[in-house]
């Protein structure tokens, strides 16, 4: 029978594996892509940032995902909700493929969905999809400073958030699941 242990030290203090390893931050004009848990929509924020996973297929073709959700026109036009994930995208991964189109600025690209030919753009910090390229987007790979990080837990609206005690950032899983699945490490 396998076992588990809780990485708990003292009252409301845990250490967990550093989750930002291999993740990316997307940036437009010194503002970060940020998805608010309460409205499920992406907008730009001065300080808060969301960490995304980016999968590279070729040098200029990528897929961006946030947990179980991918960047595609259904999610970006609507909400990051299961109904889009399931009803419109069964078997269809082509909607998620994004082509990076070079701009004249270093490390900045226009992002265009290959299938729908729509560009990811921003209008007054709100994300829109446009027919023509409008907003150059920069993506930066996050740097891992610690292998394990210390966190504290806070609960709001029946959702558990973790405060990174090294930099005071708050973290929770975007989807309705465990706020952090690494808090209890299961020994197989």
């Amino acid at each position: 029978m396998n076992n588990y242990k809780i990485n708990s030290y003292g009252n409301n203090k845990f250490y967990i594996k550093n989750w930002i390893d291999e993740k990316f931050i997307l940036k437009v004009n010194k503002k970060y892509f940020y998805i608010d848990y309460f409205d499920n929509k992406i907008h730009l924020h001065n300080n808060k940032k969301t960490y995304f996973n980016i999968q590279f297929f070729q040098n200029d073709i990528i897929e961006i995902h946030l947990g179980i959700y991918f960047f595609n026109r259904y999610h970006l036009n609507d909400d990051f909700k299961n109904r889009n994930l399931l009803l419109k995208l069964m078997y269809n991964n082509q909607e998620n493929k994004i082509e990076l189109i070079n701009t004249n600025i270093k490390n900045q690209y226009y992002m265009q969905f290959i299938k729908s030919k729509l560009y990811i753009s921003f209008n007054e910090d709100q994300l829109t999809l446009t027919q023509k390229p409008k907003t150059p987007i920069e993506f930066i790979k996050s740097k891992k400073t610690y292998d394990k990080i210390w966190v504290q837990r806070k609960i709001k609206n029946k959702k558990i958030y973790y405060k990174n005690l090294h930099n005071n950032h708050f973290y929770t899983n975007f989807y309705l699941g465990w706020g952090c699945e690494d808090c209890i490490s299961i020994l197989q």
């Binding site: 029978m1 396998n2 076992n3 588990y4 809780i6 708990s8 947990g67 179980i68 299961n82 994930l85 399931l86 009803l87 069964m90 078997y91 609960i155 029946k158 959702k159 558990i160 899983n173 989807y175 309705l176 699941g177 465990w178 706020g179 952090c180 699945e181 690494d182 808090c183 209890i184 490490s185 299961i186 197989q188």
Partner: protein, 349 residues
Amino acid sequence: MKLMIFKKIISSKHFLKHKRKCKKFKKYNKKFKKYNKKFKKYNKKFKKYNKKFKKIIEKTKPIIKFCVFAGRQKNMRILHSYIEILLKEKIIDQYHIFDFSRNILDKNFLYESYKNFTSKYPKQIFLHNYKENNFKQVKHNQYDWSPFYKKISNKLFYKNSVVIKCDDDILFIDILGLKNALHDRIKDLKSFLIHTNCINNNICSYYHKNIFNDIKNELNIFPKGGILGPTFKNPFLAYNMHNSFTNDIILHNDLTKYYIPSFYLNHRISINFILINGEDCKYFKNTSYDDEYEISSYYPEKLNRPNKVFGNCICSHFSYSLQDKILSRNNNLMNLYVKLSNTYLKNIN
């Protein structure tokens, strides 16, 4: 001459020894009879205490409450055949029907089956939410499950009991496996939820990849965070699993192939057939719409307790709402499950 011989015998050492032994024997015999009387007395007392002890054990033994989110008639007919055996074999003590039916036909069926069950098992069958259910408990495509959670979070209900929460589309229950799972649930106080090893459950399907060889590659994707997964995205995988599982058990009646090692998990899981310790039900007072999230994620994480899948108890979950269009396209699978219940329960009897 004879007298002389007699005198000689009487005065002989052997005779004297024998005489002494006889005296001792008589003494011991008396003592033995005394002790025997005492023993009989104690035996009577022991039997009395044993009866009392058994009564106390029965009182402290958790009451197994089998709760069903009852609804669709076609599913309930199959599920009831298993519940009847569970009641008959005294594996469960009470059957609680929570009326979450969505049309009048299903509602009437539930009431009829409630009546039938009560005639056979009086004081063991309960019908809840029957008057309150007006088919209007849907809000933003989500169903209000609060009648169930309000009921089970009542101390009078959960005290000294184990609560089994079963969906109406559970179409197979491993009777002996459930007995083991209940035993494990009573012992295991650290796991928050114990989920059975369920066919067509998003997490369990990943562990079934080696059992269903045809779709091994498709099932080899772990649902990240315990949400969705390949069987959600592709209902044909669920169809395949149901089809091969039912046919296999009908033919061979051997469940061992489907057993997996029990494992803990620290993420969400679909709650199709779960066992909850009565004392943990106190947390569910305000649970209503997002019940799966709260039960399998929020409370276990808050309490630092993992969930567990118990590998030696198999059940089969027919369909998630998104799979329903494919799985219920024809009655093939349903007919297979009817056949399976007949053959499997015949062997149990």
